[in-house]
Assembly symmetry: D2
Homo-oligomer: 345 residues x 4
């Protein structure tokens, strides 16, 4: 049994990690930390898990955490992981960090949108944990920068098509929509029920920090600098993310070509589902799961492709992918603990 700890267990991503790990037959969840709820039973904060999770929240302490874990999940806001992760690695722990701190290979790209990086040396060895794209590297890694939710939903449908030269990387527009849980459990006016319900709007247009993250990975696929247009929107729902992505087709590409390209690239990937006949995927169909469903339609009159992907922002967009990364790092089955049959509604 692998012993796992969750640092920052009482945010939404942290609690979702607890849910998944508590149901993972290869893992023994031994530590949950929370500054705010230190000393309280985890289930006093999340009563849904009463009877199934029997842990008390504790304050983070490097030695204490290391003594009881083999792998540590960091579910903290960016900046904090930079301070904690080096200590964990020194004790030989494997780490999956859900913040942005270890997603970038280029520190300048990180510092341009976050803040000065205090553990730059680790960026050389940390691996971007997009499992379907970087599986081999992940299997060898000690430190994973778990991808952002928007980048996961945007890169997965695009990567194979860019790599195969099907689309013009300069033409990419990603119109993305996220449920409110992406904002986390901290208090903010914009996350209040009365502000979200019956409301839909774009936000941070031209200034969202997930954009450079996408650009870095898509540039790898294109082997040239890519700078997409990215507009995030806030949906009146808890969980779910949809990305509708537009790009110019580079050459005569048929619907079948695109299907074959995606199907081949993701042939061994248990969590990628290409929809039948390009049917637009629905966030409801991946709710609570680690799936990324992808559909597409060709706008032949305009020589454009319309790609659509859906994920659960808390699962494939955060905690599910984190566990998938752990599975790969620890030599477990990639989908262990992530196989729950989805709800029909």
């Amino acid at each position: 049994m692998i012993r796992a700890g969750v640092v920052g267990a009482t945010g939404y991503a942290g609690a979702e990690l607890v849910r998944i790990l508590a149901g993972h037959s290869g893992v023994d969840l031994t530590v949950v930390t929370s500054r705010q709820y230190s000393g309280k039973p985890f289930t006093s904060v999340f009563p849904s898990m009463k009877g199934l999770v029997d842990l008390t929240c504790e304050a983070f302490d490097n030695e204490s955490v290391c003594a009881r874990t083999d792998v540590v999940f960091m579910a903290l806001p960016h900046k904090l992981p930079m301070a904690f992760v080096p200590g964990l690695l020194k004790q030989g722990k494997k780490v999956v960090d859900l913040s942005a701190d270890f997603r970038f290979s280029n520190p300048a790209a990180y510092e341009a949108v976050y803040q000065p990086h205090t553990a730059k040396d680790l960026l050389a060895t940390s691996v971007y944990g997009l499992c379907e794209v970087f599986k081999e590297k992940i299997q060898q890694a000690d430190l994973i920068g778990n991808p952002g939710c928007y980048p996961t939903s945007v890169i997965l449908p695009l990567y194979p098509l860019i790599k195969n030269g099907f689309i013009d990387p300069a033409s990419i527009i990603a119109d993305c929509k996220s449920g409110v849980s992406g904002a986390g459990r901290s208090l903010s006016l914009t996350a209040l029920y009365c502000e979200v319900s019956e409301s839909f709007k774009a936000y941070k247009v031209g200034g969202h920090r997930h954009q450079p993250e996408m650009n870095e990975i898509l540039s790898l696929a294109a082997k040239m600098p890519v700078n997409i247009t990215f507009v995030p929107h806030l949906l009146p729902m808890s969980r779910g993310m949809e990305s509708t992505i537009y790009a110019n087709l580079n050459k005569d590409v048929s619907h079948q070509d695109v299907h074959d390209c995606l199907a081949a690239f993701y042939s061994d990937c248990p969590f990628i589902r290409i929809t039948d006949n390009g049917r637009p995927p629905d966030t409801a169909h991946v709710r609570g799961t680690n799936f990324c469903d992808i559909g597409f339609v060709l706008d032949t009159r305009n020589n454009r492709i319309i790609l659509m992907s859906v994920i659960d922002n808390l699962v494939k967009g955060a905690s599910g992918q984190a566990v998938q990364n752990m599975n790969l790092m620890m030599g477990l089955d990639e989908s262990a603990g992530l196989n729950a049959v989805p709800f029909p509604i």
Copy 2:
């Protein structure tokens, strides 16, 4: 492996049965029937389960279903099961019927609110499948009348208190609230998004067919005829049911007495959770699970008790309890297939 079939698999309760059975390690789901979608892959109707359920909907045929199943779940509107169940029993199948057809021991009570009963003889041996109350009988049964959602949520908190003479059965008032999925997947104006959203109202006041069902079981507990006041309401949400129940206390009963009574009665019941300190339970905490959470507060100035229970109407209120019944009938662990860790939100 137990071979199971779901008759009426494309309604919400049927699809929820498919979800649970597909994830049940002791069950091989072999047959799904649907008149409307006969010939179509089940996942063309419920794409969320693509990759996890590989069955084609078929029309119901007694011989064909019996040849491939050990147990059959009937998820059809009442009246149809009366016609199909005798044939299944004749072939030696165990049957869990989710309709009202086999819930009543008294045919007259059934006929007063439904229609003439065409298989009355079976009512003598069918068992009311409220697992926590009638476990021994269920273990011996061939035919289960799976309880209605409202009765499940109302009887569970009341039964031990009535049996122990803590409350006056003539004083019971049940104010119940249900999510929309209780209305099923058939088309109706009242189930449209625009009619439900930002709407809350009572319905069928004084005339809901679950009332005689509650009365029959509560009368057993009281050993006298009980006729409660029951008002169902429709909530603007998909899944979840809350019942707030009022009754006069019969004698000097303390908070601790009530807690002890409930805790003792349900001591071996994995799906009953008494909340800490009487905290009101939240439907969100049982969403997607087979739990029934119970809380209570004493209104000492008025010598009344306020009982509150929550269930997921599609799980403990329908398909989850149906699988729990099957587990008991087939000698499996009572909670097999029903152990998924609940979502934090």
Copy 3:
């Protein structure tokens, strides 16, 4: 034109007052105050009203406010109005206070659930602003304690029946459900979208501060002390409140008797609508309006009545009733500014 000011204009009740007053043809809205947004245009906080409201938020200053108003609405949390209102009255202003500070005639009842009262002398002359019940007094008043949302929804259906001796006041149980906007615009975990959506639960069972307020007024109707059982619940919606109220009928009372009693008592009341044939009222039908719709059903087997009322908690439960009070105080038509045709959905 009556000059009106709103103190605390950027909470939900305050902003709703601004909405109603800005569309009121007999009123000139001259002042909006907000500590938090002082100096900012009101429409920078509530952009929906851009082009229709052209006022800048200012800090409260007694002299400055008095110089530009005839009537002042206080939309602040309780305790603050006690400090501000005496100064306004001294300047001869009429005041409608939406907090609890001036609702009680008995200071001890207030202090038992709020805090020490620092303007007790005013309680002798302040009037409880339940317009349909205390119209004459309101017309003479200088200071109105605007009723709480729950008390409005509970007292309106009960008052005539208690007064006429139709029901036993000792038997009253009020099971009430409120939309989230009742919690206001301040930040709290329980008001977050992800906590509210797909959730329903009771709260503050046996301890909500609206209960003594109801008791005081219902005792007036009964001419004896009344202590009801009251359980509030939180609905996954923004606006709307439903109360289902149970009571024992005192004597042989027919459906027609109840209808006639309510219809007679509210014959001159433009905002009370008795539903046809007792049909359960729907919160969606009063959304954004000052209506209180009332329905009822007799549970003759148990000799009980089931009363159901719906209001918009922000309108008839707060700001709409406040304007109705102002209309009465200032000699305007009772429904001025409150006549918008409701939305069909």
Copy 4:
């Protein structure tokens, strides 16, 4: 007083027309027709308006309707208006048709996506009722083809920019999101609460019938054939539509240039609001109103503009704009009946 009739008054658009017209001081609403509810009081179908609308639904009869109206609103599915409108015009009635039947000047464009047109001759004189763009023509018209909701939200932000040559018409991509009420009040699986809640998806990608409508009008602005890429999505909310529109900038255009262009074009338009500093507009801010709020951001690195518009699909996207058209046709103030102050939430 202008006498108005609503044909098809019990769909959502029809009922919304009734709401607006019942509150319009220059209009006497005299006729409401409904095949389904003929003979029933309108408020038995929409109880929210009880006490404010006192009309009985009747079957459509040309003579009877004409005898009691000056202007007739057609709120029927396309195809039916073609049959009814000629008769109304013959009697000298003004007609605003909310279907697609009279939106196209080119019958072939209509027939390519709807069905054979049986009143083609009227297309020569019918006017496309996008009020802010075609005001003069509308003022002279007898028959208005009221614009579709998507075209309204897409054309309004684009028209001035295309006309001024700011953007490349070949590069336009419109990513649009609509609330469920756009699907109307008829029964369909996709409009059920349980299917919509916590769901978001694209639909009819590349095949929505509003696309040729947009193309026809945008081609007018561009003076060349325009064929945009258009993807509609379904939002889990009742009312509201957001369009995020991408286009390549044709030349060096600054943020101020775009603002000035839009502000100048819409200087006399009471229902167009340009947001401050390009802030993304929010559907919640126009809910229940006839406003179209427009925001925009320049993606200078990609030389693209991102335009965002929001409307209430039932008001500016249907019934509100229909009344605005009537106001213009009848010589009333353009905003008469459409001035309600919006809700803060």
